[in-house]
Symmetry: C2
Subunit: 326 residues, 2 copies
Amino acid sequence: MSDEQGVLEVPARRIPVPRSVSPEAQAMLAAGRFVEEVDQPPVDDHDAWRAFIAEGEQSMAAVAARAEAYDVAVEEIDMDGVCVFVCTPGGVEAADPRRFLDIHGGGLVGGAGPLCRAMGIIAANRMRVQTWSVDYRMPPDHPYPTPLDDCVAAYQLMLEESRPADIVVGGESAGGNLAAALVLRARDEGLPLPAGVVLITPELDLTESGDSFQTNLGVDSVLVGSLLPSSRLYAGGHPLEDPYLSPLFGDFTKGFPPTLLTAGTRDLFLSNAVRMHRALRREGIEAHLHVKEAAPHSGFFGMAPEDAEIDEEIRAFAGSRWSSPG
Amino acid sequence: MSDEQGVLEVPARRIPVPRSVSPEAQAMLAAGRFVEEVDQPPVDDHDAWRAFIAEGEQSMAAVAARAEAYDVAVEEIDMDGVCVFVCTPGGVEAADPRRFLDIHGGGLVGGAGPLCRAMGIIAANRMRVQTWSVDYRMPPDHPYPTPLDDCVAAYQLMLEESRPADIVVGGESAGGNLAAALVLRARDEGLPLPAGVVLITPELDLTESGDSFQTNLGVDSVLVGSLLPSSRLYAGGHPLEDPYLSPLFGDFTKGFPPTLLTAGTRDLFLSNAVRMHRALRREGIEAHLHVKEAAPHSGFFGMAPEDAEIDEEIRAFAGSRWSSPG
């Protein structure tokens, strides 16, 4: 079949703000797209990438501000030059063995340093257990496999003092990519597997082969275009379809821990979550799919009751996986 | 907020056949829309409706042909003039107490008689237990509440010889509407509830308030426009938002059986399934969501491995609900 055969012509449309979501979510959707298009630099222009990443991180300042509101204590572990932020919510007892390993988002290029710390605090507040947030190195200076190596190293460090049955691993967006990839790596390297995996609106397919990359283009107000340039920058010449880069293409006949997946109906990554759910279920692996009505990528930035509701699902799932009681 | 405020302008797009589905599913998607638009008659023109329904049922002839291939024995029960097709797959033992009550689809206006029989055979083949398919009366002659009354009557008849723990109730599309509504009615009338509910790409919201009624318009190749005229014909003057007409708006604090829901990412009814899943989960009710990549309403007409995979999920779910072993 030629590429042109069967192309579906979808006319221009005017989509009203849906009545089917909370007022908070309606307000966010009514605000429209955050940017009209993304003009990612050429893969080889590292200076342009540094400027692009810095600009993107400025737009994430609201995330950092949100984290300040939470009662979470933060310590730092130096892991051979890579920082791990250890985020402990107020009220968690020192003897509580439950752990969440959070891999931050940011498109595989952004979210370092203070943003990694802030996302760790937000994850700790969500999970209500001690949460480690890995400040993994990133492109342009550190393309694959360094970011994944850093995440695997943090998991190994966590295993030194925690039982695997007390560990749940997860991440949002690009963090969902690295969380799933680290579990595949751990499995392939014979490490004990975590008790559960949480993949929040995850970037599991750097080749962007899923249908929602097309059907939700222009509909998702957060992700407004292809991320192929940054994905290629991240890959550093490795094939995008390698399961360590696109965990959706992993071999799940070899097993994978019970997994919770989320996405939104307007999410460019909807197909990622749906396809990963099916890939796991096809092999009889416990997997739970939760989809937010009308939500773009990343949901409603934690501002809507819809987000709180999914946080509750995530906590309940992790609670069912940790072997130690809360 | 005015209706115009926050309207999202989505430009025209050309969506290629996705590489992310099976060759069989790709072939179906490459065939494009079944019709370019649906011109439903005015609600009051009953003769025009009769012609419209007859035409629609002709296009469902392929369903009847598919049913012929299956080894399923069919008997008929006359329920005060309403027929129930009792469909028993070959190999099912007479003593097997497990039952599936199937409510057929057809837009709340079509699918009567031989099509009801065919859909019952297909459901029986999927479920692998004795399956009852209710030939409920429909508009224009029998608007709501007669169709739902007939479904409730069939459930009551089934309860006369079966334990509720041996019964799973379900339906596809409009059948999902009536299956969910009959469970709400049974609950409100103090009848024992079935062990589980299966809602396949269900029409749970006749008001069409879900976001996918907009975002997937022109993307779904099976449902290509609003069904409000036929829904109003069905409602017979009753408010569309009544939970017996739009079960999504039911009060689930009063309970509901464990439920499996399916939809497709291109499905006009995606929001129906997603919102019902959340409404049940919000009350802590066991509910499982399965979404088919790139699938329009009704999936791939049972022609693709993706359909077989979801059938397997449905069987596994029902198997976990029936109290008697297979």
